[in-house]
Amino acid sequence: MAVASREALRVVGSAVRKVDGLSKCAGVTKFADDIVLPRMVFCKLHRSPVPHARIVRIDTSKAGKMPGVLAVLTGRDLPIPFGILPVSQDEHALCPDKVRFVGDPVAAVAALDEDIAFEAMNAIRVEYEPLDPILSIEDAIRKPSPRIHDYGDEGNIHKKVALEFGDVERGLGQSDEVLEDTFYYEGSTHLPMEQHAAVGMVEPDGKVTVWSSTQTPHYVHRALAKVLQMPPAHIRVIACPNGGGFGGKSDPFNHEIVVAKLALLTGRPVKITLTREEVFYCHRGRHPVLMRIKTGLTKDGAIKAMHFKSYLDGGGYGSYGVASTYYTGALQTVTYNVENYKFEGLRCFTNKPPCGPKRGHGTPQPRFALEVHLDKIAEKLAIDPAELRLRHLVPPGSLTANYLRVGSIGLGKCIEAVVRGSDWSRKFRRLPHGKGIGLACSSYLCGAGLPIYWNNMPHTGVQLRLDRGGGVVVFCGEIDIGQGSDTVLAQVVAEVLGIDPYDIRIVFGDTDLTPVDLGSYSSRVTLMMGNAAIQAAERAREILAKAAAEKLGVPPDRLGFADRRVFDVESPERGMTFPEAVVLAESRFGTIGTVGSYTPPPSAGKYKGAGVGPSPAYSYSAAVVELDVDPETGWIRVERVHLAHDVGQCINPVLVVGQIEGSVYMGLGEALMEEQVFRTNRNGVHKAPSMLEYKSPTTMEMPDVVSYIIEDPDPNGPFGAKEVGQGPLLPIAPAVVNAVYDAVGVRIDEIPVTPEKILKAIASPAKRFGPRGVPDVTWPEPIRVPTPWGAGPAPWAASGPATRSRPAPITREPRP
């Protein structure tokens, strides 16, 4: 009764139209702000105009007396803190005593309409006692006081970590070359097209329902129960389809808690829809990260030792920051062999909107540093950058220096695809001045190996109910944020049961109706939900097979399920329709429902900090960027991007190509223009809190993208599938920077690459633009962990890279 072999897949792998595609194109998909309920009233948040201050007094009397105002809330009404990570429960729905960034919410109003709510919000008076704002990484390290939070490792440093795998000093000593670089990656924000919205409603029996544009209904559920001090059983969170998330809707938010509280107080449904400016304050986007990388290599380019330091600008709250910090040091080891590895990282609190997880969470920054660093190394060692990478690929089924278990790795095939597709060997270092080509690679998780809060339960559950008419309802707590998870779920179930994906109804993201799925983050949904769905569907199939086998007089394992039929595989004309099989089974066994769940395998690392980085599988990408740089103006025009992605097994090529193109787009935005930055000389106000001023690529800037789907099935993936939502973003920024160097011979060690930086680099003696150094920091004694290979030679070193099966080396035609 095993699932069909990959060759025999019918639904999985086919370009099925998204199950919610036509609804979205008809405008009938209900987003959170589309919800209208009888007697609904409206909420507005009063936000801090100062970056760092004590709240002396809040005067809500005028607002409270305005006609049409139903309720006014301040921090005193919601005194219990919350936060996404158990280790940083440092947020309040409304600031009780202190504000930490311009935009931090202080008070809330509910009124009959939005206009009255807006007037009432403006009528609230808050007296502040200003504190010195901390506005940069350097500031936070230099000035331990005033402290932004009264917790954290020291002063304004939220978290400091140090890990060493093997012996980096010894590895550097054994190296032929040691190179060091400093990089900076600017912060950016998700900018989902949909502004966050939430509706709170209370039922006559006191139960609360919250609809929200959230990627993580389960975590919102937990936060609501904690802050409202209500039994979770009396709270229902319904995640609406997200109008884009990209990580920006993964935290429980102030406004979600506030509308629930206001609904409880007023007895009426309460809606809030953030303005675009407020979305910039919610943020939780890309951390700005300063990085130092030091690598020791053999002449062949084998990495004997790597020492990576990262300094994160965290903003005003913890959010996912502790995880983000570890992530800036986790995945350096899963692409190319690293024999000894050391990571030191710190995250600062600053008086800016909190940073958190944006597509690639903590990985684009170090990946940018590593891939540009490797480009410099390749030049120094006179090895083609593609060849350098191919020589040292991590072997499949191996354990890295920091105990990450790599399953399948299709990176070699990815590199080959983009190298061949772009005609790399004819172009690299051979194009006329002003034209450039650059290459970079990357890897990403297929779901975090550990849940956010410690527990032994599954990370996802799927429930199936079969109807006598042949329809199947699939219940799962997942939430489609545009990536297509509903479609993946329908295709997986349809594949196992041999039906059409459109025979399936998906019920998603509802804490009352659906089994828990932890949420649409860390690229976990396809792998984890997919595995749970296979389990639930196989259990249903087993029940149907038993009933059908009796009727047909054949053993159950001889039955096939396809084309809405259940049949004897040895004489396929003998069989019955799928609905007939359901009727037989229901007559025999009663109502048919099954469940499936998924828990990732335990991680191999046992050291403190080993929780961040392990994943059931890793996806791989390679990118080649072709661009023009005008040496006079510094203007960059990206002409074409080749992107090959190892997705393990493609479940739907349209979705995969869509994620590749979307990731390339977002990567280009970060590489070339997007900046979430603040005016340090004007009290830390956001420099560009609007869609016009915050530059993002339009139809006019988007280059051609050539996508290559690589399939190297992973034993842990559903049908071998791995993620594609985040991985393809990671190589874009370094590939752009490497192409700029190829075009005009300057190194831009800082993202975004702007014409101004290029001109400055051209004019500079070092032909470089980037950070000069890193601040002095006393690092803690590292947690020392022997590598899996101990003091002996690394496993790949024993056989030598050349004997391993890998793609043919890149041969360059001789220069003319």
């Binding site: 008809a26 009938v28 589309d34 097209m193 109008g243 979307g662 869609m691 006019m700």
Partner: protein, 186 residues
């Protein structure tokens, strides 16, 4: 917490409603709304047409695009009052009864709608383009949609869907190229 025990529900006199006739999706509708309301607000709040979305309400993102007098119009930048008796088409009015417009079908098939939030506005802008230029070049599509931001797709599937819909207006059986759906063969 300060809470008013009773609310009067009274609204200031300046908020007296305007009453007029709007011509939306081929239907004439009497509607009454506060005079400062934008067309976007009137459509969503007073006519229940929530298919039209908003991304900024400042005329920056194109999400709220509808057709006014057959031309793309940012509904957040025009007052409802200005639209009396002028033909308005929203995403809800694109389909021909139960049959989706070729643009809607092509967008759904090619994954040009990922989260689907910018989609209604882009469909309206693309409809105006195809009505004016039945065989647009890629560059003309880029220019026609340059005021519409999308954060999911990288725009490429949107271009390809507009091109497919344009072809299907002439040849209903037109299919996308293999590479559009599957990427380039390795």
């Amino acid at each position: 917490m300060k809470r008013r025990k009773k609310t009067t529900g009274a609204v200031p006199a300046v908020r007296a409603n305007a009453h007029l006739r709007l011509h939306v999706n081929g239907e004439s509708r009497e509607v009454s709304f506060a005079p400062h309301k934008t067309l976007l607000e009137v459509l969503r709040e007073d006519l229940g047409l929530t298919g039209t979305k908003h991304g900024c309400e400042l005329g920056e993102c194109g999400t709220c695009t509808v057709l006014l007098d057959g031309k793309p119009q940012l509904s957040c930048l025009v007052l409802g009052l200005e639209c009396e008796d002028r033909p308005i088409v929203t995403v809800e009015g694109l389909a021909d009864g139960p049959r989706p417009d070729p643009l809607q079908m092509a967008f759904a098939e090619l994954g040009a709608a990922q989260c689907g939030y910018c989609t209604p506005g882009i469909l309206c802008a693309a409809k105006a383009l195809l009505d004016a230029r039945p065989e647009p070049t890629r560059q003309e599509i880029r220019e026609a949609l340059s005021g519409n931001l999308c954060r999911c797709t990288g725009y490429i599937k949107i271009f390809e869907a507009v091109e497919l819909a344009a072809r299907r207006r002439r040849d209903p059986g037109a299919q996308p190229a293999h590479e559009v759906l599957h990427g380039r063969r390795v």
